[in-house]
Each structure stands twice: as structure tokens, then as C-alpha cells.
Amino acid sequence: MKKFLVAVLALVLVMTACLASAEGAIKIGVIGPMTGAAADYGTSVANGAAIAVEEVNAKGGIQIELNVQDDEHDPEKSINAYNNLWDWGCQMIVGTVTTNPCIAVGAQAYEDRMFMLTPSASSTDVIADKDNVYQICFTDPNQGSASAQYISDHTLGTKVAVIYNNADAYSTGIYQTFEAKAKELGLEVVAMTTFTDDTTDFSVQVTSCKEAGAELVFLPIYYTPASMILQQAKAMEFAPIFFGVDGMDGILSIEGFDTSLAEGVMLLTPFSADGQDEMTVNFVKKYTELYGNVPSQFAADAYDAIYTLAAAIEKAGITAETPAEEACDMLIAAMQELEITGLTGTMTWAATGEVTKSPTAVVIKDGAYVGAQ
């Protein structure tokens, strides 16, 4: 009986919530892993988006209503989450957060003509052959050219060595675009060595970088092999600048890792929580007050995604009554004309859904990520 009462009460509450929401608010769905192994990514996105929605609504113009659905980083559950949002009357989606679910949901959304803006799914497969899916984050290969650009702009070194994993599409893809861009910018790639998945001995790779007199070693790889390379470079008393991409993010949280090894390591990432601009300071302050921890790049990506959508909605003149199919085409047209300055840089979009923005980097100092100058 008690259970029944609770259920009825819950139903009533849900219904009142639905009624209350019908006051001309635009319905945006969020899909991402809120539980499971990738839960940190999903909750960061949900929290970052919630802050942005609150700010947009407080301005009094466009009103947004958010509906967050959990997909546990599972493509099938992600489709279920998408269907729930469809039934709810969702007009556009911020998501999904992770790549594989995003490919699955993207295919369905393409059929249904539902607009998607993913904060963090970075594979090119996410946007391939779909005009309705846009990204806030860099695509994987773009990180390569952006890294070369950053290294050249900040004159970090002209003699560059690369160590990459040629058994891995992510690493190889980034390396190829890096090499092309480096050549264009006049960076000299003095050594290029590879390894495969199970490698633990990097002495040959590090020795060849050292012998070639590299001033900077570019590591488009995940943080586990990177941690071994740092250790072996130290053993050989080789101390160039090590430069990584988003795969390097996480190196400081390896259990037992001696963080002094990573001192001075730079990595390309769109957001650094200790940035001094007003927007970042406000966001970090709000986020820390509400959720008790420092926001990651996922939270910043989601915050930018909501602001981007709000601008696109305004430009396209979408209202709460616009059906999702119509909104999709209107948003696609609007997105290509937008220029948004957010937490993660100033962004414009190509018709493919790919974002263009200026890269920023962080450097590891005293065991923490600090914005690079």
C-alpha cells in the first residue's frame, strides 16, 4: 500500500513538473554515462550543462528545459535513452558524451532528423556522413595539426621528435596530421619512432630521440605508455619538452606515479580550470560551489554546447512549438554562421560538423595542470 502511495505521489509530481515545463521552454536532451566506468565524463557534462542553462534562463530571453538520460557508455542503452527523449518531445540533443554510443545514436538521429551537438565525442566517425551532428571538441586528427600549430606559434622547439603507437588508429591519425602540418610550418621532425600495444621497454625510442638532438618530443599516445617513456627518459638523463594531447590527460592520477617525472610536460587541451579570464573564473567558482570539485574539460565543453545552442536557437528563431525535424534544418543553417567564444576558445563550424578553434595548452607544474602562457 505504502509503495502504491509513493508511486502515485511520484506520478503526480512528474505530471505537475511536465505541466510546469510547458510554458514555452525549449526542450534539450542530454545523453551520457551517469553511472558505470565512464560516469565521471557524463556527470561532468550534465553539471556543466545545468550551470549554462540556469544562466541562459536567468537572462530572461530563451528559456531552456533540460532532460538528462543515462546511457552507461553503452550504445544500446544510449538508443533507449534517445527514445525516451523523443517521447518526451525533445527538440535537440547535447550528446552523446562518449564516442561509440554517439555513433549509434547519431545514425538514429540522422533518420529522425534530430539535431545533435556532442560536447566530447571526438572521433571523426561521429560526424561522418551525417549533416545533423556537430562537435564542440576537436576531432582526433585535428589535434595533430593543432599541436604542430601551437608548438610553432610558441616556438617551443624546432627539432621535434615523435613517438607514437602505430597499432592504434587514434595515435596514428594524430601523428599523420601532425607530420603534415609540421612540415608546412617548417618544424624539423628529427626522429620518428613507433611502438606497439604491449611495449614496456622504450629505451630504443628514447635513445633515438636523444641522439637526434630533439628539443621537443611529441607524444600523441595514452598516458600509460607516456608514463613509462617519462621514466625511461629520466633514467637516460634526457630532458626535452614533452608535449601530449588529450590522451595524456590523466597521467597525474595513475596510482603510485611519481608526479615529479611529469614536471613540465605540456598537453593540448581545450580548457584549463585555472584560467584567469572572467568567464572561466566565474564558471569554476560556480561549479566548485555547487558540485564540490574542480570542473574538467567535459564540463566546460558542455557549458559551451548549451551557449552555442542558445545562440543558434536565437539566430534560427526556434520556439518551443517548432518540431524537432524543422528545428534540425534551421539549426544546421544557423550553426555554420555562428562564431562563439566560450570556455574552450572561439569556435566556428564547417558544414561537416567539425569545429575550428584555437588550441590552448596546459603545463604540469608541481603535480597539477596549469594553463600555459
Partner: protein, 294 residues
């Protein structure tokens, strides 16, 4: 020239790690006449125990090694008793397959206990590197300690099997189990003893492996284990000095192959050596050719 020498030193560093693992392989094979494919995973468990002892209990590195040796000795006796003892009369293929099963069991147990995220192992030896030729060549402290440990273990094992009563019993068991039993030797206890010693060596190998290559995860032991097996075959399986020679040569071959041919083919060189040895000299560099009596 210095470049070649520095590759050579890298090769010896890597080879000394293979050698110390190969010693355990060869010891168990020499006495019990079985390939303990779970040896690499006992190494991994030993490294995890040492990691936990220093990281969570705050014990000094040397104590953690003794801790790991004790844990691995117990583990070795338990594995032998549960998995191999019931198969004493079974064909050797059955024992081999069981060993592979034990290997997977240990890997998955480690996955369950410590998770898949790699842990960074803090080196137990840290007294700086030995610098030669005005700092152009560096020999890490891990390498020096590993080579010293190899020599000490090699001498200790040879003396033990040659001079002590238990050691002589081991050799007797390895030559003829039936006859040894008739002479009043407890065959089961002797084989258990072999596993206990082999596993204690695995613990030392695990700590030294992870000191040199500090990433620790449930699959840490499997690849070095297989390469050390290759080293043991190369040197002559069953031969204690052969394991050390084979290990060091294999490390040098791997590194020189990577340096002068291709970094991606490092593993291929190691296993090409295995094929060549099996074709040309199946008994290995220092192994004895034993005629099978029919």
C-alpha cells in the same frame, strides 16, 4: 660507437630481467620436467604484493621484497598442490594445458582484486645510475642490481642442487621419479619444494622487472614470461647458467633488432630466435643432449 654501446647496455638491462625470470622457469623445468606457464603470472602477483606492501602498509622496499617472496612461495605451493599434483601420472600435455589455465586464473584474479587501471611501481633500488665515458653511457642502478641478483641466484642454485641433501634429492627426482621413491625420497615433497623455490625467485624477478619497467597491471607478467621462456630454451632449458646467458643474449638481440631494423619488430626477433634454436640446436646453447631411451 657510443650509440652502439648505449644500445648494448639497454640490451643487457632488458636481458638481465629476462634472465632472472628464465632462472625460475628453468629451475622448475629441470626438476619437475614441466613447463610452468603460470610463472609469468606469479611474477605479476609478486610485484603487486610488493607494491601494496610499500604503498598501503608503508613498509621499506627491502621488507616488501621479503613479503612478496613469502606470499609467492605460499602461492607456488598452493598452485602445485591444487593444480599439478593431481596430474602427476597424466600425460605432460594435460599438465601444460593446466598451467595455461592457472595463468589465466591468476590474471583474472588480479583483475578482480586490483582492477584494470595500471599502477606505477616505485623502484626498490634507487642509488642513481653508473656513468661511463663522461656521462655518455649510463647504466641504471636497476640493471646493476638485477645482474648481481642473477649471479647470486645462479651460484646459490648451483650450490644448492649440487651440495645439499634436498638439492641432491631434487636431482634424483628429475632423473627418475620411480627410482628416487624407492631410495626413500619423498617425491611429492621434493616437487613442492621446487615450486616453492621457483615462486620465491619469481617474486624477486617481479620486483626487479617492475623496478626497471614501472607499469604494473594484470598482464604485466605474461609477455616477459613468454620471452623468458624463449630465453630459457635459447640457453638450454634445465641449465641454470644457460638461463642467464640466454636471457642476456635475447635482450641484446631484441634491442639491437629494434634499434637497427625496426622498432615494431622487436618481439618478432625474439620469437625468430626461438624458431632458429629449435631448428638448429634444440638443446640450446648450454643444454645437454639427452638421448631418449626407447
Amino acid at each position: 660507437m657510443t650509440l652502439f654501446l648505449s644500445y648494448l647496455i639497454n640490451g643487457i638491462s632488458l636481458g638481465s630481467v629476462y634472465a632472472i625470470i628464465a632462472l625460475g622457469y628453468t629451475m622448475v623445468y629441470g626438476i619437475a620436467k614441466m613447463l610452468n606457464f603460470a610463472h609469468g603470472d606469479v611474477i605479476m602477483i609478486g610485484a603487486y604484493v610488493s607494491f601494496c606492501a610499500t604503498q598501503y602498509l608503508g613498509l621499506p622496499p627491502l621488507v616488501s621484497v621479503i613479503f612478496a617472496m613469502a606470499a609467492c612461495t605460499a602461492l607456488g605451493i598452493v598452485i602445485e598442490g591444487l593444480a599439478y599434483k593431481p596430474l602427476r601420472q597424466a600425460p605432460s600435455l594435460a599438465v601444460l594445458i593446466t598451467a595455461i589455465g592457472v595463468s589465466y586464473f591468476l590474471q583474472n584474479t588480479a583483475l578482480l582484486i586490483w582492477g584494470a587501471n595500471p599502477k606505477s611501481f616505485k623502484s626498490v633500488v634507487d642509488f642513481g645510475a653508473l656513468s661511463l665515458m663522461n656521462g655518455q653511457l649510463l647504466i641504471s642502478s636497476e640493471t646493476i642490481v638485477t645482474i648481481l641478483a642473477n649471479i647470486v641466484i645462479m651460484i646459490a642454485l648451483t650450490t644448492f642442487t649440487g651440495k645439499t641433501k634436498v638439492g641432491k634429492a631434487m636431482r634424483a627426482v628429475s632423473e627418475d621419479k620411480g627410482a628416487a621413491e624407492l631410495m626413500g625420497i619423498n617425491v611429492n615433497a621434493t616437487i613442492s619444494m621446487t615450486f616453492a623455490i621457483g615462486s620465491a625467485l619469481a617474486a624477486i624477478a617481479g620486483v626487479l622487472l617492475c623496478s626497471a619497467y614501472p607499469t604494473l597491471q594484470p598482464t604485466t607478467g605474461s609477455m616477459p614470461g613468454i620471452k623468458a621462456f624463449t630465453a630459457a630454451v635459447f640457453g638450454g632449458i634445465g641449465s641454470i647458467p644457460g638461463a642467464m646467458v640466454g636471457g642476456i643474449l635475447l635482450g641484446v638481440i631484441e634491442i639491437l633488432g629494434k634499434a637497427y631494423v625496426s622498432t615494431e619488430l622487436g618481439d618478432a626477433f625474439v620469437f625468430a630466435v626461438l624458431i632458429v634454436v629449435l631448428l638448429v640446436k634444440p638443446s640450446g646453447l648450454l643444454g645437454k643432449t639427452v638421448r631418449e631411451k626407447v
